[in-house]
């Protein structure tokens, strides 16, 4: 069971994660963080392929792909 943790304290709303997710499971949410950015959210976490491109590309270390045993 994959849990994608998005640290809204650090997100600067660049949306590179949304653009580069190969499964297209990230989208802009309506939640605005303390910096004033609409942070991304995971639409369908069960479709995550754990490629971790979001982790690698995020310039703020705000994305973590956690694998929890269901």
């Amino acid at each position: 069971m994959v849990n994608i943790v998005i640290d809204e304290a650090y997100c600067k709303g660049c949306y590179l994660c949304i653009h580069y997710c190969p499964k297209k499971i990230l989208e802009k949410s309506i939640t605005i963080n303390s910096r004033g950015y609409n942070i991304p959210y995971v639409v369908t976490p069960e479709r995550c392929s754990k490629c971790k491109i979001c982790e690698l590309i995020c310039p703020e270390f705000a994305m973590t792909v956690e694998e929890n045993r269901a």
Binding site: Y20, E55, L56, P59, F61, M63
Partner: protein, 275 residues
């Protein structure tokens, strides 16, 4: 925050000063993964020059120096020669390394000093507002070339190789996994290791040269303007026109490394003085 950040970053210095969508954060992530993979955090000495890239070491919880514009390599030389067991990693920009720092760069490479130089290349002087740099493409519009750049850019990797560097690689922030592996290789390489890392710069190069501030568009442009060595095999010169090669471009493991040869010579002259 991602565990690699929790492990290595100075939390009290956060948030990063870089613009939203800037590739420097990606480079910092790749570097931390390489340092983690090499398990060298207790031996590293990190040096940053002046410019946005020079701030990279200041966020890492390790021994760091933030030095004058263009003088990261002489400081790195001092760090390495005073304690050759140190793993010295230098973060410099295209202006810091090839402009004001150009002379230090060619000589450090000529000596084959055992340092890893990560040159963050946004093809412009970003921190000062977008002036043309030694790596700005010809005809590009910048604040100091409003009618188009009349000069020609350096090919930093060719310059490094010609000066005597023994590990030369080029990657972009669109290749974070390959970049991290290349940094790991550069750290373990005994000699002058140079990485030209092309980066998106939404605020300066993006708006001024490429006409957009959208990080994703800029990163896509970077990826499409480059081609890996494997993909370039068998392609015609027309197909490769305007594309920069990425990958490990040159490696030489035979050339003697500077600190070793320097201290060997010093020992020879000391023993001949004794006789």
């Amino acid at each position: 925050m991602h565990p690699i950040g929790e492990k290595y970053l100075r939390k009290e210095a956060l948030p990063f000063l870089w613009c939203p969508g800037c590739g420097i954060g990606t480079i910092l992530g790749a570097t931390l993964r390489a340092i983690d993979e090499s398990a060298i955090i207790d031996q590293v000495a990190l040096v940053g020059g002046i410019g946005c890239s020079g701030w990279i070491p200041t966020y890492i919880n390790a021994d760091v120096m933030h030095v004058l514009h263009g003088r990261a390599l002489p400081c790195a030389t001092g760090l390495k020669m005073s304690d050759p067991k140190r793993k010295v990693i230098v973060f410099t920009g295209d202006g810091d390394c090839l402009g004001i720092g150009g002379n230090h760069f060619i000589h450090a490479a000529r000596r084959n000093l055992d340092v890893t130089v990560i040159m963050v290349n946004n093809q412009i002087y970003g921190m000062t507002g977008g002036q043309m740099a030694p790596t700005t493409p010809s005809d590009a519009k910048t604040t100091t070339s409003p009618s188009g750049n009349p000069e020609f850019p350096f090919n930093a990797c060719e310059l490094a190789k010609a000066s005597g560097a023994t590990y030369v690689a080029r990657w972009t922030t669109a290749h974070p996994q390959q970049l991290s592996k290349a940094i790991t290789k550069a750290i373990s390489h005994e000699g002058f290791a140079f990485l030209d890392v092309l980066t998106q710069c939404p605020t300066q190069a993006g708006r001024i040269i490429y006409g957009t501030a959208d990080p994703a568009t800029l990163l896509d442009t970077l990826k499409s303007n480059t081609i890996t060595i494997r993909a370039a095999k068998g392609k015609s010169p027309e197909e490769l026109e305007g594309k920069l090669l990425v990958g490990t471009l040159f490696q030489d493991n035979q050339k003697p490394e500077f600190s070793k040869s320097y201290f060997k010579t010093a020992e020879i002259s000391r023993s001949s003085a004794r006789d």
